[in-house]
Amino acid sequence: MTETTVNEIERMVVTRIFDAPRELVWKAWTDPKYVMQWWGPKGFTSPVCKMDFRVGGKFLCCMRMPDGQEFWNAGEYHEIVPQEKIVSSMYFSDSKGNKIEPAQLGIEHEAIDGAYDVTIFEDLGNDRTKLTFIGNEPMESAKNSGQMEGWNQILDKVAAVVTKLAQAK
């Protein structure tokens, strides 16, 4: 599972360990019924999510802000290894799935040419799963947004919640 090489630009990577078996995390990630429940940042809802989950298939998801403003993302699946890996692309689109430039939405997103998003599902044993999302954005660009500190705080909070859940069992 070497999806990066040393001379490649360091990518934005988000990882999370779930206290759940891998098939469950895979299901939550690949079934639109569940994707609609988590797609989009905090406070956003996802009223529409269509996924043609197969190689060459496309997806179209909408996220809605509390004030009603909607943002659409579309993309394509390039490689699927069941319960292990998904290689896909994603871009901002209109509600029909036609690509639009993020700048037109007032959003900055520096993508790496010809690169894809890679999602990796690892079984850690004991019904724990590590999810790794390697995004099509240089790490530097994510760092420059000055939000790294914020993410660390969020992850601390999440870790606390997971610990509590594990203890409650």
């Binding site: 934005m12 019924k33 999810l131 993410w151």
Partner: protein
């Protein structure tokens, strides 16, 4: 362009000047911003004047959309979904028919 408009309203002509683009290209870009509800376009005589929609700019800025934030916060929500699924699966083993009811809950959003 948003940077330019943040200094105050400007005519389409005035917005074209600082960019090495045709007025047609600029108009197309403005149309996107209008459609995204970021810019308001009004007629003043023969000129079209563009103004930033203050609420839109506030939301874009407050949100400070970053790709990283999108995924981190989606993961937070995914965690909630996975935990709920785990509970449902446990419950389904004993009691079928609970799944749909649990799916309808969105209190975490």
């Amino acid at each position: 362009m948003i940077e330019r408009l943040s200094h105050g309203p400007a005519s389409v002509h005035g917005l074209t000047e600082p960019f090495a683009l045709s007025q047609q290209m600029i108009s197309k870009h403005i149309a996107y911003l209008v459609r995204a509800r970021i810019v308001i376009k009004t007629k003043r005589g023969r000129e079209s004047v563009c103004t930033l929609r203050p609420e839109a700019i506030k939301t874009v800025r407050d949100w400070a959309f970053s790709y990283r934030r999108f995924w981190e916060e989606s993961f937070d929500k995914l965690e909630v979904v996975v935990n709920r699924m785990k509970k449902e699966e446990g419950r389904d083993d004993r009691n079928h028919g609970e799944r749909n009811r649990a799916d309808g809950r969105h209190k975490n959003f």
